[in-house]
Symmetry: C2
Subunit: 489 residues, 2 copies
């Protein structure tokens, strides 16, 4: 409110009474939008002190403003700029005094080039059941433990330096712990220098792609495939070539045919578990992919966001654990392990590449959240994260089984699906209903789910939806399937 002093200038030499000068100044600034509708104004005593005038003068000004309908005085609450402002009579005010708000359309031209698919299930909404794209149950995430750890850290004098700049690559503490963790659990021959801590897998893919690609470069992806990654590749100006994905993952023969004809700069694969189909890339194809990468000198982004959540057996070792040539850019994330909004992930690559991606990262968002990174390091160290993973895997396996059983027994005639070996969703083809219509009707019944628009790669249409089972307990799953059953009847 020190603003008032600047806005209201009083001329004590003028003929016009001071209270009228003040009244006019208020009206002027309310009209101009500088004192917005609903703004709480200081009491007359406070304004009088600010402006260096007698309080009675200010009371008179407020009375006049109230009489004209510009302000409201609510007993025991305060003084406010009126929500319903008096109709502005044209001609009474000059053009530049009109109330203005920022125009919705800017005065300059720009091309809307970034149309990101918004998943129908992106928006949490009270009271609705959500069959999302395949996210963890954030109700289980050890967030209280995480915040406690942050609290302990901020009390340490030694932690204070982490509030200054530094660490675009991620804090040393987290990178050391991650190197050990990735070596112990996934056999990655990795040191902290290879690791770039990111804001989740999405940022990992973004930084890797933008560090690597130039306009016109060729990128190979799976079909169907992950729209969020394809968008990044397209945005770099690269050309996308699709290769079919079958029950064993990407078709490597087809990939080799393409490599023979064209210089390929990047191949993007999701080995556990392909998005959207959830298939696991077989060990044989992994070895062949590595051989092709070394032979044709393409970079291989291994997006292993789902590694921890494999139920059929142990997860298959990442290609990065066997990559002697330095072909693999390995992407992982904690958002699936903990909760989507805890945005920490990592990229692992040959040191030269990690350094280059770290440079780009400085331009994009300077650095990560050092406090959060160090708190997560503590949770790795004390075993919280390991325990949480084991607990979640056990629970999500049960939820998968329960959900697939419901799909089979309740919706069997209307859907076709394969029980996924891992991950958090079932890739479900609807045989009779159109998913666009179905999801719109489900929404009205209290169920939020995706539709084929989220997964189609035009012109290919799948009429299929990823149905996330992991974030719903048995009762919620039953309610969701019950709603669908009612609609499919």
């Amino acid at each position: 409110m020190e603003l008032l002093q600047e806005l209201i200038k009083i001329d004590h030499q003028a003929e016009m009474p001071v209270y009228i000068q003040i009244t006019n100044a208020f009206i002027h600034h309310i009209r101009a939008g500088r004192l917005r509708k609903g703004l709480r104004l200081p009491g007359s005593r406070e304004v009088a002190t600010l402006l260096g005038i007698n309080r009675m003068t200010m009371v008179a000004a407020y009375d006049e403003l109230k009489a004209q309908g510009w302000i409201e005085m609510l007993p025991r609450t305060g003084t406010f700029v009126t929500q319903d402002l008096p109709v502005l009579k044209p001609g009474r005010i000059k053009e530049e005094e009109k109330v203005f708000t920022i125009p919705a359309k800017p005065s300059f031209h720009f091309d809307e080039k970034h149309i990101i698919p918004v998943f129908s299930s992106d928006f949490p909404e009270g009271g609705k059941i959500i069959l999302n794209d395949g996210f963890p149950d954030s109700r289980l995430a050890p967030v209280e433990r995480l915040v406690s750890s942050m609290r302990s850290l901020v009390r340490l004098a030694t932690q204070r330096k982490y509030f200054m700049y530094g660490g675009a690559q991620g804090t040393e503490k987290l990178r050391h712990i991650l190197a050990d963790f990735l070596s112990d659990t996934r056999g990655l021959p990795v040191s902290p220098a290879n690791i770039l801590v990111t804001r989740g897998a999405q940022q990992g893919i973004y930084l890797a792609a933008h560090t690597l690609l130039q306009p016109g470069d060729h990128v190979v992806v799976g079909e169907p495939g992950y729209a969020g990654a394809n968008l990044i590749f397209r945005y770099t100006g690269a050309k996308i070539i699709s290769v079919p994905v079958d029950e064993e993952g990407m078709d490597i023969d087809k990939l080799e045919d393409i490599c023979k004809k064209k210089k390929i700069k990047l191949v993007y694969v999701i080995p556990h578990h392909h998005h959207p189909t959830t298939v696991t890339l077989t060990p044989e194809r992994r070895i062949r992919l590595l051989e092709l990468a070394a032979k044709y000198k393409f970079a291989l982004i291994e997006d292993d966001y789902d590694y921890d959540f494999h139920y059929a057996s142990k997860p298959i070792m990442p290609m990065a654990s066997l990559d002697r040539h330095g072909s693999v850019i390995y992407i992982g994330t904690l958002t699936k392990t903990l909760a989507p909004a805890i945005r920490v992930g990592f990229m692992v690559a040959p040191e030269q590449f990690t350094t280059a991606a770290t440079h780009l990262r400085k331009a994009v968002d300077t650095q990560g959240d050092s406090l959060l990174e160090n708190a997560l390091a503590d949770l790795y160290k004390d075993g919280t994260i390991g325990r949480h993973i084991r607990k979640s895997v056990k629970l999500y396996k049960e939820r998968r089984d329960h959900f697939c059983n419901l799909l089979r027994t309740e919706l069997g005639a209307h859907v076709s699906f394969k029980i996924p070996d891992g991950g958090m969703s079932v890739w479900t083809k609807f045989l009779s209903a159109d998913t666009m219509e179905l999801s719109a009707n489900a929404y009205r019944k209290g169920l939020v789910m995706g539709n084929s628009r989220d997964y189609d790669t035009y012109p290919k249409r799948y009429n299929s939806v990823r149905m996330g089972f992991a974030s719903l307990n048995f009762r919620e799953q039953e309610k969701a399937v019950d709603i669908l059953k009612g609609l499919l009847r």
Copy 2:
């Protein structure tokens, strides 16, 4: 360590004793790097259980490994893979069994295009005094209050939904509070729909530039200017045109000359206080800039990162507060208000532009940290942030005066500078010493400071350094100046 089960396969039918099979398997995997140097191994009892063998067999295997020097057993500590592994005799192992680590150089080609200037003062180091680029004193930041607020939030069931996806534009709660705050303190006629919450000013500039610019577009910046922004503009493929910055900010006559000759897409200005020179853009030039933006239809990025810290008088109202045409993209940050590592900032723009930038943001890092955003909203609401700003402004003004006094009395013959009206650093020209040499020598004496390489815009050389006074108390300032005095003598 469940990995061991996968790595070690025992053939009970084989002639070779089981303990030798196990010994060989360990050696094989240690050589291959899958069991890394220094790795803590489970005790013999645990491994025996894992592998389903007699414990004595495992003890024998460990004894053999120890005798050969592959593992170490430290009393009361545990069993570890030896740090100094036995020399590998060539010929004894197959090529593919060699210990391998990820090669530093990748197998694929990439152009190192992103060379970001690393500020010499970027890295906090124990025991050294740091004259940084102009950052706040993070020792004063209310981080304990912030984490307490996060702690209260995670205990609320209603907060849980914020751990799922949603809110690429920033949480509704923070955007509402920011809209009120910006309207009340800076006169911005803004609604939550205009605001995109970012990871600090850098991400704001990044998203604005990449939403707006196409390769070949012309961008006007000040000379000297902010390297971190110029880098972003160059990276989009835009062409940069420099306009001199004098005592009143960017030279608007020169800008108009350029606009008459070329289509300008974007003008980037830092009104409070230009980086690196710290000058404030005068009100007259602000009005002219707005007029030019409307006339020539260029976008105007107003990077007001330093707004809160103006000491000479009240800050000058942002151009965004007078922008009726929708020309201004207004950038602000909390990193200067609180601490550099608390990475939250904002972009304010016409709604269509904010929406497009939000789409791009989804590709870059999906969304922000909802918990942190809501905790900051609480700190705005309860007045913590307002109080912290008032307290810091008072303190930094005293620190500025003390520091400038020291520069004048102690180093007067060697430096030339103007007392800045605001901000957190003094733009100091060194008259006798070369700053490259000076900063190297200062480092050896325990003082970290920038050098001209951080600020030169080649081919222009300034031999000047921003000396951040805000994060040093009087005693630290005196020590810093004393070190410089010793070196300049």
